[in-house]
């Protein structure tokens, strides 16, 4: 991991009225890693994600994605950066009036002029990658189970072969078995495609299973360390998070 970071956040400040959410946040995302972002409710995880995605302009600081500062790019340049990453939102955000296949095809159709045959081939690829059977393509999002919606959203996020994948609460609302299966899927795609993954999560199991490094948002700042390092961090909130009663069960079951 000696190469330049794929995302580099420097001194980001986000304010909403008098409320300061981030006060000088620094974060590097190394190529090929899985970075987990953790924080209490209202600590600004989603705002940080939206800042990194270029959906929200910070009040101060810079966000470099592959060397380019996205806080200073024009809309058109930002569009090119946005094509380089895939995002899944917390509730899937699948377009409810389109079938799963149409959802997956939408970004491809928007960007490229393709024959129907190639389009279908690519759709099949995306669905298979996320472990959805091809028949699922003709279903509407409202006909899918929660786990399948997350998978379909992941298929859509992967539609343009991104190098960078953002996951917002990927396992929230899933039963433990589906959540474990989804962890496995992300890990498999990460290994197979050498994706860089940034995920916001509350799920300690997911964090322990996937993340090589963890960023914790506390007191409007960020603490980044390896999983082992962060678990021994002295900050009271972080100690409570990793050593509270619920955490002990998750950590204990992994022998860690």
């Amino acid at each position: 991991m000696s190469s330049a970071p794929i995302i580099s956040v420097r001194g980001v400040v986000n304010r909403f009225g008098a409320q300061v959410v981030h006060d000088g946040v620094d974060l590097d995302v190394e190529p090929g890693e899985v970075l987990g972002v953790v924080g209490g409710s209202g600590s600004g995880k989603s705002v940080l994600l939206r800042t990194m995605l270029g959906l929200h302009r910070p009040n101060a600081g810079e966000v470099r994605v592959e060397g380019r500062d996205i806080t200073r790019l024009s809309e058109a340049e930002l569009l090119a950066v946005k094509r380089g990453y895939g995002v899944t939102f917390q509730h899937g955000a699948l377009f409810s009036s389109l079938t799963v296949a149409q959802n997956v095809q939408l970004p491809i159709r928007e960007c490229f002029d393709l024959s129907d045959d190639a389009l279908n081939a690519l759709t099949e690829l995306r669905l298979r990658m996320v472990g959805l059977p091809p028949e699922a393509g003709s279903k509407l999002p409202s006909q899918l189970s929660g786990g399948m919606i997350k998978r379909a959203a992941l298929a859509r996020a992967l539609a343009l072969d991104p190098r960078l994948l953002f996951l917002d609460e990927p396992t929230a609302g899933l039963d433990p078995i589906s959540a474990a299966a989804f962890d496995e899927l992300v890990s498999y795609l990460h290994r197979g495609l050498r994706l860089t993954v940034v995920m916001i999560t509350h799920d300690l199991d997911t964090l322990l299973a996937l993340c090589s490094r963890v960023a914790v948002l506390v007191d409007r700042k960020i603490v980044v360390d390896t999983l082992a390092g962060i678990m021994n961090h002295p900050h009271p909130w972080i100690r409570e998070y990793f050593h509270g009663p619920r955490a002990r069960a998750a950590v204990g079951s992994r022998g860690g």
Partner: protein
């Protein structure tokens, strides 16, 4: 240039060049479809000129090679096979579990089953609608017994939202429509030298029909849609189920205040529309026909039968009931998707406007027969 083909006696050599990435996907697709695999017994893929290949390029290439293999050709690589091939092969080794789908059979039996299902569905829907209206009547009659169950605060909010907030638009439209009617009427009646009857025309048309009908149509568009959307969103958020689980009668909380609120608001709006319509007629008469206000008012009094005003106003509560019932009923029908919400909101508006006009036609016939 992404692909160079050379055809030798023993088969086909494909030289991959440049960037096989999703940015070039259209060109990759075209290049792959341009090659003819048919007679080749051996396909050599030379990847040494390849700069990079992502999963998408690898998938399209592998699919095409798969077609060659299916036709009996052998595929050999010169240089390293693209790295994503391993991923695709691993993926193929673990096919996802098939989804359990109900397969529709296109047979006579299938058609019969479909017909039966649709009929049963329709009957159930009609029963549900009847049940809905029945419940409103029962809840309404029950609630009349106690002030607390009438939820006056909620009723007041709906009177405010459906009535008071609608005053500007209702007043403006009633005014403009009566100006239009007076203007057209004056033009026609002038040919007979009977301009004075313009006053009769405006007064009767506004009070009997236009005032109440236009108000009802505006309210159907404003409040019918709002009722359906508000209740529909509550259904999507499981708020209705939350009410039920608390043992609260959701008809009493959600439906009845809206019905009562509109029953109060629509007649009052109609009176405002009537007044504004007459004002519009008076204004046009004085500017266009030289009929001053002091002539206009006695003329209106002569033109109107004692029942004219009531013939219009009596329709308002009926229209209010139709709009409120259709709006809340469609809102309650929303299930599990936001698409349903949009559809049913539209249905609520279209249906309530239709029902208002239909009821108005029935009233017109009945009033003529009764000589009202």
């Amino acid at each position: 240039m992404l692909l160079e083909t050379t055809r030798a006696s023993d088969g086909l050599t494909l030289r991959l060049l440049g960037e096989w990435r999703i940015e070039n996907v259209a060109a990759i697709d075209a290049a792959l479809r341009a090659i003819t695999l048919a007679p080749a017994a051996r396909v050599v893929v030379d990847s040494r000129g390849l700069e990079s290949m992502d999963l998408c390029g690898a998938w399209l290439l592998k699919r095409r090679l798969g077609e060659a293999q299916a036709a009996g050709a052998s595929v050999v690589f010169e240089g390293d096979p693209p790295e994503h091939f391993a991923f695709i092969e691993e993926m193929a080794a673990h096919p996802p579990a098939p989804l359990e789908l109900r397969q529709g059979e296109a047979s006579l039996l299938g058609v019969m089953a479909w017909l039966g299902r649709v009929s049963v569905d329709q009957v159930q829907r009609q029963r549900a609608a009847l049940g809905f209206f029945g419940r409103i009547v029962v809840t309404g009659l029950g609630a009349l017994g106690s002030v607390r169950r009438l939820r006056l605060a909620s009723v007041a909010r709906h009177v405010y939202e459906t009535g008071i907030q609608a005053i500007p638009i209702v007043a403006l439209i009633a005014f403009l429509i009566s100006v239009i009617v007076a203007y057209l009427g004056a033009q026609q009646l002038r040919q007979f030298g009977a301009e004075i009857f313009t006053v009769d025309l405006v007064a009767v048309a506004v009070l009997r029909e236009l005032g109440v009908l236009l108000t009802a149509i505006i309210v159907a568009g404003r409040s019918g849609s709002a009722f359906a959307a508000e209740i529909g969103v509550m259904r999507l958020n499981d708020e209705v189920d939350a009410l039920k689980s608390m043992g609260v009668d959701y008809f009493e909380v959600l439906v009845l205040p809206r019905v009562i609120g509109l029953l109060i608001a629509l007649p009052l709006l109609t009176i405002i529309a009537d007044a504004m319509g007459l004002a519009g007629g008076a204004l046009l008469s004085s500017t266009l026909l030289d009929i001053s206000l002091s002539q206009f008012i006695p003329r209106v009094q002569d033109a109107l039968a004692p029942t004219t005003f009531w013939a219009g106003l009596i329709k308002a509560p009926v229209f209010a009931l139709l709009i409120a019932l259709i709006g809340t009923y469609r809102g309650m029908q929303v299930r599990d998707s936001s698409r349903e919400l949009g559809r049913l909101t539209t249905v609520a508006v279209v249906q309530s406007i239709f029902m208002v006009i239909f009821a108005d036609a029935v009233f017109a016939v009945v009033f003529v027969e009764l000589d009202f």
